[in-house]
């Protein structure tokens, strides 16, 4: 929001574009800034900066859309903890939903460090989720703690900067979101749709129920570029690992193998049950893999909740792409709709409730028109969402 913040984004992207690091850059024409941020006040972002700001952004979006020949949907990136990305972001999503009701809307939302960065983070996170759960098709939370962990343990970068972390986030997202280009399309009988709009695929596969909108992303390998050449993984090993990461909500560094995917008797509260998965397998010779490769590992009933019935075959979708991504000979990315967010959502709710109970900080929100009613609504939505997921 602040001019210096926006300008730095524009400048950095132009810089890396001109020195050949990236193939794109932000267009100044479509940028918008005010003179100051929202001071971490969700209410300020959501209610105070609203009408004028939306009109300004709307006109930019409109002109951008007119210049496109194909439009797959909106993908909105923001943090959850601050005031602008979260508050104004939620407001914009809400309005876009009204104005472009048929377009796909996907949110990538950065969850703050659990050790605390912004004191109002729990309020702000929940207020934003409350809005996004209502207005977006799907929300992909990205955890700064987890990204930091990946940087430290897998990339051996003890002091990652935001820039490094953002690169990791981008790579994770791309493992699933990167467009497919099926040069061997004839072989791809598996490939269902004719248009390769991944957002539509995600919405169709993962965002079926209005009360379940939180998606979680896993990808492997997450290792450093340097170690790529030593990577002697087999496809079977990889798909097994990523499945284990999903059911234990773990990451590649330390995989917990004590919970068995095939054996429901090891079911514990720690077992993450899923509604559905969307998997993208990329790399050399993917089309030489047996046709039953994915179904052998993901076509297992015990991975999924029994609550909504339906055939197991419909619960996972998969795509193969014969291109390498980030130079990886083999890679898998899976986007799931499952229980993995329960723990963090529960603890965030608990902390926010305690603070709310003591009426702490509420006067800042009231000043800009967000009162106890809004908070009650927020707690209700989030508690309901949590309960629904826990009940899977």
């Amino acid at each position: 929001m602040e001019p210096k913040v926006v300008q730095k984004c524009l400048l950095d992207s132009a810089k890396s574009h001109s020195n050949g690091e990236s193939l794109w850059q932000y267009d100044k024409k479509y940028s918008y800034h005010k003179q100051s941020g929202s001071g971490n006040n969700w209410a300020l972002g959501y209610l105070y900066y609203s009408q004028e700001e939306y009109e300004e952004t709307h006109s930019r979006i409109q002109s951008l859309l007119e210049s496109l020949d194909y439009f797959g949907g909106f993908q909105v990136f923001s943090s959850l903890a601050g005031g602008t990305g979260s508050g104004l972001g939620a407001h914009i999503v809400e309005r876009l939903r009204e104005d472009f009701s048929k377009s796909n809307m996907m949110n990538v939302a950065v969850w703050p460090y659990q050790s605390g960065e912004v004191i109002l983070q729990n309020y702000n996170v929940l207020l934003t989720l409350n809005s996004l759960i209502q207005d977006s098709d799907g929300v992909i939370p990205i955890y700064n703690d987890e990204i930091m962990f990946v940087c430290r343990e897998l990339l051996k970068n003890k002091r990652p900067s935001y820039k490094v972390m953002n690169t990791v986030i981008a790579q994770q997202l791309l493992s699933v979101m990167f467009p497919f280009s099926n040069s061997t399309k004839d072989k791809m009988s598996l490939w269902s749709g004719s248009n390769s709009n991944i957002l539509s695929e995600i919405v169709r596969q993962l965002c079926i129920y209005p009360q379940f909108k939180l998606l979680s992303l896993k990808n492997i390998p997450q290792c450093d570029n340097k170690t790529i050449e030593f990577n002697t993984d087999l496809w079977e090993g990889m798909i097994q690992r990523i499945r284990q990461m999903i059911i234990t909500n773990g990451n590649e560094h330390k995989i917990n193998w004590s919970i068995k995917a095939e054996n429901p008797s090891t079911y514990s509260t720690k077992f993450i049950k899923s509604l559905s998965h969307l998997m993208v397998i990329r790399g050399d010779k993917v089309f030489d893999l047996p046709g039953s490769f994915e179904s052998d590992y993901f076509g297992i009933g015990s991975l999924y909740t029994k609550k909504y019935g339906g055939s197991v075959d419909n619960k996972y979708a998969y795509f193969r792409d014969s291109h390498r991504i980030h130079g990886h000979e083999k890679s898998i990315g899976v986007l799931s709709n499952n229980q993995s967010h329960c723990q963090i959502l529960e603890s965030t709710l608990r902390k926010a409730t305690m603070m709310f109970h003591e009426k702490a900080f509420l006067h800042h929100y009231e000043k800009f028109g967000v009162n106890a009613d809004k908070f009650n609504e927020m707690f209700l939505t989030c508690e309901t969402t949590l309960a629904e997921y826990k009940g899977l």
Binding site: K4, S36, Y113, G116, E117, I119, H363
Partner: protein, 442 residues
């Protein structure tokens, strides 16, 4: 006559030094200050003068000069405000022991609160030291404090005693290090000037006379770090309004304890900073607090802000240290992760990095308690009261005393409440958590 200013400049020393000046400058990035002389920093047009001070009488400043200069001051503020494209807040630097800074200063705070209700008002106010030479300073401070409680959004109280203690500690340390040299004071000072951390020439004056240069340089650094996000870019910007937003849970509990680290470097560039982890540890030490005897580590935290400046500091350095501090500090049960962090990429001149810690901690009540004692001591005998009743009712003293006590109480209650939580109630154990389960209010 005045020491208030609304400034965002690299060097605020003159704001405190040059008496009889009222300074307004808007909160926009203003880099030209870095290179210039002091006289370039402050606009002469924004100066309001009077032949005499307020004679250490709050009532004269507040109720005499206040209404007298109201229009002129409002006019100058408006001129400055009109030049701003993004007004971040009003910043006040004043003592509360005298008559002008305290009386007229608080009058302006109140006045601006009426005219610009949505603009934040920050105040860095100097509390008198133990051996203060102004006899009426307890009265003035109490009367000012009342206004600060009611009309300011955020106050950073600074205790002159703490400033003196820090300066003399640095001198001692320096003496130990440089035993060979005889003229310690002059030597430190010479380094100072050469190095640019403090540019004021105070040559030819003895050590015993208080000039406040070095004391003020500490305060200047605090203000400087506080406002650095407005002037420089950083990975994690912290606007002024974010500070109030994050660190003030209840409107009246807006008094923040501040501390700097590395501190010696501020006063004496010869003390090289240690590593960044050390810096974080030091920042919350008792000795670094700008209020005497305040020890935040032994009291209860309501919230804690850490503002880091440095070009080689990464967000992960901060995060690592926040995790460490979290284990060490006692936080109120509803704000266990009560940290607000900021990262500005531009370090202060001559330093690699610098950390400003702002604590909303219950130990801050000590400064109010000390003030209350001093106040009662003279108020019981009603000395000097007649100077004040010329301008106001005597009952106003009682009102202010009450108000001060109610703030002390609210901090105390916060502590008591927290201590009385069931064992383990500070954590998020399942059972205790249950009582905090959300229930809609219908």
């Amino acid at each position: 006559m005045m020491r208030q200013s609304v400034v965002s400049s690299e060097m605020l020393i003159p704001a405190l030094r040059k008496p009889k000046i009222w300074l307004v400058e808007c909160g926009v990035i203003d880099n030209k200050i870095l290179g210039g002389e002091f006289k370039d920093i402050f606009e002469a047009r924004q100066c309001i003068k009077d032949q005499s001070g307020a004679g250490n009488n709050w009532a004269r400043g507040h109720l005499g000069y206040g209404p007298q200069y109201k229009d002129e001051i409002e006019d100058k503020v408006r001129q400055a405000v009109e030049k701003c494209d993004s007004l971040q807040g009003f910043f006040f630097l004043h003592s509360i022991g005298g008559g002008t800074g305290s009386g007229l200063g608080s009058y302006i705070i109140k006045d601006l609160a009426d005219i610009y209700p949505t603009v934040f008002r920050f105040s860095t106010c100097v509390f008198p030291s133990n051996d203060d030479d102004v006899v009426t300073s307890p009265y003035n401070s109490m009367l000012s404090l009342n206004v600060l409680i009611e009309n300011s959004d955020c106050v950073l109280p600074v205790d002159n005693q703490a400033l003196f203690d820090i300066v003399s500690r640095v001198d001692q340390q320096y003496a130990q290090k440089e035993e060979k040299k005889k003229d310690i004071f002059r030597d430190t000072k010479a380094d100072h000037i050469k190095d640019g951390s403090s540019i004021l020439d105070i040559s030819g004056k003895g050590k015993k006379v208080r000039h406040y240069e070095r004391e003020n340089s500490i305060v200047a650094h605090v203000v400087n770090n506080l406002t650095c996000s407005m002037r420089f870019e950083g990975d994690l910007n912290v606007d002024l309004n974010e500070i109030t937003m994050n660190l003030v849970p209840y409107p009246r509990m807006h008094f923040l304890l501040s501390s700097l680290s590395p501190l010696y470097n501020v006063l004496n560039p010869k003390f090289q900073p240690r590593n960044i982890d050390e810096t974080f540890k030091e920042a919350l030490d008792k000795g670094n607090q700008l209020i005497q005897q305040a020890n935040p580590q032994e009291s209860l935290y309501l919230a804690c802000g850490l503002i880091v400046r440095g070009n080689k500091v990464e967000i992960s350095d901060i995060n690592r240290n926040v995790e460490k501090l979290q284990k060490k500090l006692k936080f109120v049960h509803w704000n266990k992760e009560g940290f607000k962090v900021g990262l500005c990429n531009q370090p202060p001149i001559n330093m690699n990095y610098s950390l400003l810690a702002l604590s909303n901690n219950t130990c801050i009540r000590q400064i109010f308690q000390r003030l209350r004692q001093k106040f009662l001591k003279i108020y019981k005998q009603k000395v000097f009261v007649h100077h004040y009743t010329e301008f106001m009712e005597q009952s106003h003293f009682d009102y202010c005393l009450n108000n001060c006590e109610s703030v002390i109480n609210s901090y105390e209650e916060m502590e008591i409440k927290n201590n009385n939580l069931p064992l383990g109630g500070l954590g998020y154990g399942e059972e205790e958590a249950d009582q905090y389960r959300f229930r809609p209010i219908i």
